[in-house]
């Protein structure tokens, strides 16, 4: 049996940037004001009238080679089962080295004195549920699953559709994929 490797596949053709995923995350994870675990990016390319636009729901990429984990001095930032990158608030000093190390701006300082970020809603995964952002997406743009299972919806989507990751040139092996 293959090792579990969680991943999120986001269909940029379906995404309309409605922010439902952002609000669902805020509510589900009690994300405080001034903090974001996920956000919407609109990238416009070209010159008028020849323009193309991609809307992306972005979040922590749960990189395999995560610089936030390697730079954490206390082990608070760590990689959990399934490749989830997580923060243990009990170990976090709030030194912000992980924020400086993250090229995606995925982390912020929680008012309770620790760094916080997307967890792929691991508390929901433990109950057999999908992350909150995926569950509320009105266009069905967000698919979550296990890349270790070749028959999972995420594996099938990545086999069938053209896709990319954000900042692939960094070589961090991110696990949030964008279908085009």
């Amino acid at each position: 049996m293959n090792q579990i490797r969680y991943a999120m596949v986001i269909d940029t053709v379906r995404c309309v940037g409605c922010n439902a995923c952002v609000l669902a995350c805020k509510a589900e994870n009690r994300v405080p004001p001034g903090g974001f675990r996920n956000w919407i990016v609109t990238e416009t390319r070209g010159t008028f009238p020849h323009l193309s636009q991609q809307i992306r729901s972005e979040r922590c990429n749960h990189c395999t080679d995560a610089p936030c984990v390697s730079n954490c001095p206390t082990g608070a930032s760590h990689t959990r089962k399934g490749g989830l990158v997580a923060v243990d608030p009990a170990k976090c000093t709030g030194c912000k080295a992980c924020i400086a190390a993250c090229p995606y701006g995925a982390r912020y300082v929680h008012p309770e004195g620790h760094v916080d970020k997307c967890t792929f809603c691991h508390h929901r995964l433990e109950r057999g549920q999908d992350p909150a952002c995926g569950e509320v997406c009105p266009t069905g743009a967000i698919t979550f699953g296990d890349l270790g299972d070749p028959d999972s919806p995420v594996s099938q989507l990545l086999r069938r559709r053209k896709h990319h990751v954000v900042k692939p040139e960094l070589g961090l092996d991110p696990h949030v994929y964008y279908l085009t």
Partner: protein, 315 residues
Amino acid sequence: MTEIDLQRHSHLIDPNLHIWGWEIPVYLFLGGVAAGVMVWTSLLFRRIPVAERSRALRWLPFATPVALSLGMLALLLDLANPLHVPRFYATIQLTSPMSWGSWILLGIYPVTLLVGVAALTGPETKAVTTWAPLRWTRLGRLVTWGRRYAQAHDHGLLTVQLGLGVALGVYTGVLLGALGARAAWSSAILPPLFLVSGLSTGAALMMLMRLGHDEHAALRRWDMVAIGVELALLLLYLLGLSTSGATSRGAAELFLGGRFTGAFWALVVLAGLLVPFALETVEGVRRLRPTVIAPVLLLVGGLSLRWLLVLAGQA
């Protein structure tokens, strides 16, 4: 043309990263000064016999724990959760420069204190052991024992202090240099640059004290070498950024026409390195009485360098 519209406004992250304020450059600066004092006192102690050392030189090893403590206080103020500081010492994270640094800092205290008490004269030791706080806490006897131990292991302790000083100076640069996501910091030049800058600012602090003529002259010569190497490393740093990808070229542009250009060339290069170098040259050639101008400028330049680099990495 590519236009990115980001619907996120995380505190301290957007629109520009601004997680590290004055605390980090002050910490890096004081760490560099401490590293310089450790290296130079180790070398001077080996060169100058006990009886011939000036009073200022005998007491200078204690400047290291003082500078480090002030630096660590600044670092503590920067932490979002200072109560979790013991977590730094509950683990060793091999891939984290900050973890290495935490342990290096811890090792420096006993070594520099032992080097310090070993160098004191008999009456000075008595003054320390009878100093009220030590008398009340009955730590005076520990000082006497430490002095005896340190004098028996003088050579080894100076070697360890020298090694720890170099490690501390390098660490202050590695701390930023390991953060590959920030173009202005992601440079292998930063560790040696911060080391030589620390050596120069450490020498500057020492030259502000009433050192003996030979001690001052030796420091001035060593400092001039450090300034020369620092200038070369600064040029290599900018060259490295300018010849890399677009993001790195953008970081170089901050110092070559961008928002930090004036401050960098005026405070760091001209006032902080070239003018002190010229003053030290004239002092040496003309055998003039040293003034405080060159050391003060070196200290201002060293602090400015770290301040601007910490800002540039977040620009």
